[in-house]
């Protein structure tokens, strides 16, 4: 296979170095490298990161191919600098059997833009009643290690306890969508000052926090580990911080949009801002940033949730919840965490590649940028600033809350095991 020499890249934001890729592997990292016959990519001071890993993506296939497919979703991922994504189980049919997860896994391999690691449902049909065949999904070709009913909460405490216990047998992890269902009946947005004024059903922070509190205690009790999806409130941060200080094996994620946007945007009644969990307040946003910086929140995960135009071009109550995020995630993280001085680029690599790969056990991903490692890499032009144009998205859907917003940073190159999936901002 061919050689690629990336010249003058700030590896993890450090001093400029050259990185030589030989075939699927990083051959050498150093200053003043040369290689005969290698294709040269002038990085010119851009930042080189390990390929990003998203622990929370909705690819919609099978069932909702009108909003996204494995192909369009993985192309969007490559565009955003990702080399691996974990595909959520809430498809039609639900990914609750070995057959469905193997199909999704195989489609990802065939398209070759980004590794797709399916997440298995915790319960049959996401109904929260009966455990799905977790072991069979783990033993399948897809090798599922992460289980989640995302979109729905595993609200039955006994089912949650059993799931936490059961996955210990093969080192799996349950990722909880923390949302107490009774407290969120008819909920449309964060419950607070804005919901009171707009007359939209309130989604109290306590509906998230009470489930997280319960689940960290359950994880402690049964000696398992638990992952909390898309933390959105300052109170949730406090609970996770407390749990970690107590030695409970809990990890947590935050989405880019919860690091940037607040419920004030709902005043427009534009459903592009309708998302689950809902946009919260400024105070929550600041607490989430701080928690991501100090490690209380381990990772950034996109919760990329594509929806067709008509599901957002309507009144608020009728609209679907969710936002696309793969193609803007790194820019939002730069805006909220790097440009604010809260995180270094090494810190970004930790939270968007190393750690998510570790939580999800994505083999070959989230590895250091050093000789002998798989060449999963992302090159970012951090000096770039531009406004978001959804028309340029690789995703099949356009439901971004950032349309027209100026954001920093742009992924120019992505390599998946040495093969370029994105060159100069264009998909291969």
């Amino acid at each position: 296979m061919s050689k690629i020499l990336i010249r003058g890249a700030k590896v993890l934001g450090g001093e400029p170095q050259d990185v030589l890729i030989d075939g699927q592997t990083i051959a050498e990292v150093g200053v003043g490298l040369s290689a005969e016959g290698a294709e040269v990519v002038e990085a010119d001071g851009k930042v080189l990161l390990p390929g990003l890993v998203d622990l929370h993506t909705h690819l919609r296939e099978p069932g909702r191919e009108d909003s996204e497919t494995v192909l369009t979703g993985t192309r969007a991922a490559a565009s955003g600098g990702y080399t691996a994504v974990f595909a959520m189980a809430n498809t039609f049919p639900v990914a609750d059997t070995a057959g469905v997860v193997e199909q999704v896994y195989r489609l990802g391999q065939e398209h070759g833009y980004c590794d797709v690691q399916p997440i298995g449902a915790v319960t049959v049909g996401l109904e929260g009643k009966k455990l799905a065949e977790l072991g069979a999904m783990h033993e399948s070709a897809a090798g599922v290690t992460v289980f989640s009913d995302d979109g729905k909460c595993v609200d039955d405490a006994v089912i949650m306890r059993r799931a936490l216990e059961y996955v210990k047998a093969f080192g799996g992890v349950v990722a909880q969508h923390a949302q107490e269902p009774r407290l969120t009946e008819g909920a449309q947005m964060n419950e607070g000052i804005v919901s009171a004024e707009l007359g939209l059903g309130g989604w109290p922070a306590v509906a998230e926090e009470s489930i997280i509190a319960r689940d960290v205690l359950l994880a402690e009790h049964v000696g398992s580990r638990v992952h909390i999806c898309h933390l959105s409130t300052a109170g949730s941060v406090e609970i996770v911080r407390w749990a970690k200080s107590r030695g409970i094996d809990v990890t947590a994620e935050v989405t880019p949009h919860h690091l940037l946007l607040t419920d004030e945007l709902v005043r427009t009644y534009n459903p592009v801002y309708k998302v689950n969990p809902p946009l919260r307040t400024e105070r929550d946003v600041l607490a989430l940033r701080e928690a991501l910086a100090d490690g209380t929140i381990d990772i950034v995960a996109t919760d990329h949730a594509p929806h067709p135009h008509e599901d957002k071009d309507c009144e608020w109550a009728a609209a679907a919840m969710g936002m696309v995020g793969l193609e803007t995630a790194l820019s939002v993280v730069q805006e909220t965490m790097v440009d604010t001085g809260l995180l270094t680029w090494a810190g970004v690599a930790e939270r968007m590649s190393f750690k998510p790969a570790e939580i999800g056990q994505a083999k070959g991903h989230g590895r250091p940028v050093s000789a002998g490692e798989p060449a999963n890499l992302t090159l970012v032009d951090t000096e770039y600033r531009g406004s978001v144009d959804p028309e340029g998205f690789a995703s099949r859907s356009r439901n971004t809350p950032y349309e027209g917003r100026e954001l920093p940073g742009r992924v120019t190159h992505t390599w998946l095991r040495g093969k370029a999936t994105l060159v100069d901002g264009k998909l291969t």
């Binding site: 919901s195 009644y269 534009n270 109550a317």
Partner: protein, 326 residues
């Protein structure tokens, strides 16, 4: 400039007083042998009702007809909407028929705002009640009724409600009437107190320009007007209060409570009343109860709003707060 009436909070004090003054002149048309003005001749108004509300619809319809507008009534039941057609498609279909204004009632909070701001249609949008958000013409007719009774028909011209003490009692949480009234009455200088069991007051109410009390008796003695909100029986099943009997004992208005109000104080209700729940028959039928007057005033207020939004080449109201998206 805004061409729509979406929220009572969008009205400045001067806009609101102009609407009330205009309504006072409109009210006099009702006393004439020919209760009709040629003002909106050739303009088409559609009453787009996604929720059943015969009262509000016929009130708007009467107002539109008195101003000589062509009226199209569109109710969602049995229409293409119940077959899954979207609000956007329905609105665009109507606009294709040459509609100048859409009066919309919708169960989803924000639907009129969406209709006005999403670029779907060009017509003016008048909110006739959306979800638990706003019902601005109801607030205007309530303020009109208060001004007539507390300040006077002629003495009220040009005046607001400065210093008047208004108490709103009942299911504030689910009430667009309460939200609209708090906004408008505050703009007009009144002092508003909400009274309800804590379960029926929204989280976040602390930023509203009003007081909140859980005790009806202590507020009634210093009230110029009390507005009783309808309390739906199904709220009881969702544990907002234990029983109907307990609710009406603590928060209902009966003859004894009414007697403790100042002599000039009036009792208002947006209708339909649930007699025996929030109001006893004795109070509902008393001289001090303005329910029937409110209905008549509703037509005058809606005539005023229609005239001021549609009567000229541009609206006469300068909305202070709402800005169109992009």
């Amino acid at each position: 400039m805004q061409r729509h009436l979406i929220s009572a909070a969008d009205l400045t004090r001067d806009d609101a007083v102009l609407i009330l003054d205009t309504a006072e002149e409109m009210a006099r048309v009702a006393d004439r042998p020919i209760k009709k003005l040629p003002t909106l001749r050739g303009r088409t108004v559609v009453n787009l009702f996604f929720e059943d509300s015969t009262r509000t619809r016929i009130s708007f319809e009467a107002a539109e007809k008195r101003l000589s507008a062509d009226v199209i009534n569109f109710t969602a039941k049995g229409s293409s909407v119940s077959k899954g057609e979207s609000l956007k498609d329905t609105a665009q279909t109507l606009e294709a028929m040459g509609v100048d204004a859409v009066v919309i009632r919708h169960g989803a909070s924000g639907a009129p705002y969406r209709l006005a701001n999403s670029g779907w249609i060009d017509a003016a949008v008048i909110n006739a009640g959306d979800g638990t958000h706003q019902h601005p013409t109801q607030a205007l007719l309530d303020a009109f009724t208060m001004r007539r009774r507390l300040v006077g028909r002629d003495a009220g011209i040009g005046q607001d409600l400065a210093g008047r003490r208004i108490t709103i009692v009942g299911d504030v949480l689910h009430s667009r009437v309460a939200r609209s009234n708090v906004d408008l009455l505050h703009t007009l200088g009144a002092e508003v107190t909400l009274v309800a069991p804590p379960t029926l007051v929204p989280v976040g109410v602390e930023t509203w320009p009003c007081e909140v009390s859980y005790d009806l008796d202590s507020t009634l003695a210093k009230t110029d007007a009390v507005m009783m909100l309808r309390v739906q029986r199904e709220r009881m099943n969702a544990a907002f209060f234990p029983t109907e009997r307990e609710y009406s004992r603590r928060y209902g208005l009966d003859g004894d409570r009414m007697a403790r109000m100042p002599e000039h104080a009036i009792v208002m209700h947006p209708g339909p009343m649930v007699r025996g729940m929030e109001i006893t028959a004795e109070v509902a039928d008393s001289e001090r109860c303005t329910v029937v007057e409110q209905v008549a005033n509703g037509v005058s207020i809606r005539m005023a709003v229609l005239y001021l939004l549609l009567g000229g080449n541009e609206p006469a109201l300068t909305h202070a707060r709402t800005t169109e998206e992009k």
